[in-house]
Symmetry: C2
Subunit: 249 residues, 2 copies
């Protein structure tokens, strides 16, 4: 059996953990990083370093045109639509926040699956591997925190998407190979993710979570706070901070 | 009822006919034209002129990065994968030709639907139109000739795709509005398409079908031959050729 995989890697904690897991699960793994014009290079550098640490192929995909098409969102049109206000926990899951980007996960999965299908068709038609010995899997890192609000982070959505990847692909129509979508951290807390990352020996030192692109994490943005909480819950120091402070982790 | 639509317009005969139909069916219609780096400008000019003739909004979407991701195809990697050989009619529908581009229609529909959803969310949340008075429809021009070979041109595929557009969108999850996909010429012959285009008063003079970007159609490529056959079957002269020869049609 030859297991071919694609992992969606932003360079943050969650997708790095999932990518480390994917590395264990596959024989041929490629990490795809989506970038828009405006993304700061710290995050791209992290994705590159994580891929190098894991010893996997890494490809950047320019998706800036999607932001223009999926324009009705606080993320793609901050001048038109207000950013989400602070909501307390009781409001979570009751309505979809304005940071929702129309069909973003449908788009990310479709683009990643087109690459995955290409890799698998190559293996069958050019390398002449047997179709019944090929497995094809997408690895993604949606998490319960997102899943409470966004429709395209719910398990039902991923089930529907798998059906489309069957009916719309040559890989299934001609070779009977489904493309699976694995979302292994969807129900984990941030602390559980950190603990699992440690077990997997994921290269957390190379990850970047801060919304800012400075030389070190700001420590005050939502993403920094969530990350700090995760390491605290897990009872581990953050190896990125240890390294920046001159430690050796 | 306010009917919002997006039509996928290449500037050729089929998508122009479908767009003319979509114009009759909607109150707010936008034509999207996908372009790659290499496309000749004649086709883009046609799409612009068709949109102007129909009096609809027209947007170009750069999808050149998708060609790099969906790389295993005779269309995206002609140096790696051989172009399809001539096949007689008895072979049609038996296997998927090498011109298949991984998940192309999944990608085109997703990008178009992200725009459609944006337009509809704007109407509800900013214009304050009532959600139960909004209809949202994508119009596409796959045809029986393609449908015999490509998995993502089959009616079953479009049904699965509609499910994803429900489960993955805010438009359905929060407002109960499905995005429909209409493929009105899927079972028509080229002659029937030409006859319908005439009934719809579609601006066929502005369409371009030739694979070459010359000042006039070559008359010898597959697309020119198929187009000529359509007009012959329908018993109409091709208004593009009439115009180029100095006529007035």
């Amino acid at each position: 059996m030859v297991s071919i995989g694609v992992t969606l890697l932003s360079g943050g904690l969650d997708s790095t953990t999932v990518s480390a897991y994917a590395k264990h699960r596959t024989d041929r793994l490629t990490a795809l990083t989506f970038y828009y014009g405006q993304i700061h290079s710290t995050e791209l550098d992290s994705a590159r370093q994580v891929s190098a640490s894991l010893g996997i192929r890494h490809e950047l995909v320019d998706v800036s045109s999607f932001g223009k098409v999926a324009w009705y969102s606080a993320l793609t049109s901050p001048d038109v639509i207000a950013l989400p206000e602070e909501r307390d926990a009781s409001q979570m899951g009751q309505s979809i926040p304005s940071s929702y980007v129309p069909l973003r996960n449908t788009f990310f999965i479709t683009v990643s699956a087109a690459y995955l299908e290409s890799q698998a068709l190559w293996a069958i038609e050019q390398e002449k591997l047997k179709a019944d010995e090929i497995q094809a899997t997408l690895f993604m890192a949606p998490n319960a925190i997102d899943y409470s609000g966004y429709p395209d982070c719910r398990p039902e959505f991923f089930e529907k998407m798998k059906e489309v990847l069957k009916y719309g692909s040559k890989l299934w129509s001609e070779y009977n190979i489904p493309m699976n979508i694995e979302t292994p951290i969807i129900h984990l807390s941030k602390g559980e993710i950190v603990r699992w990352a440690k077990d997997l020996d994921a290269p957390l030192t190379n990850t970047w979570s801060c919304y800012q692109g400075g030389p070190e994490p700001c420590g005050t943005c939502d993403s920094c706070i969530l990350r700090a909480k995760g390491f605290q819950e897990a009872g581990h120091p953050d190896p990125l901070l240890v390294r920046l402070k001159g430690g050796t982790s």
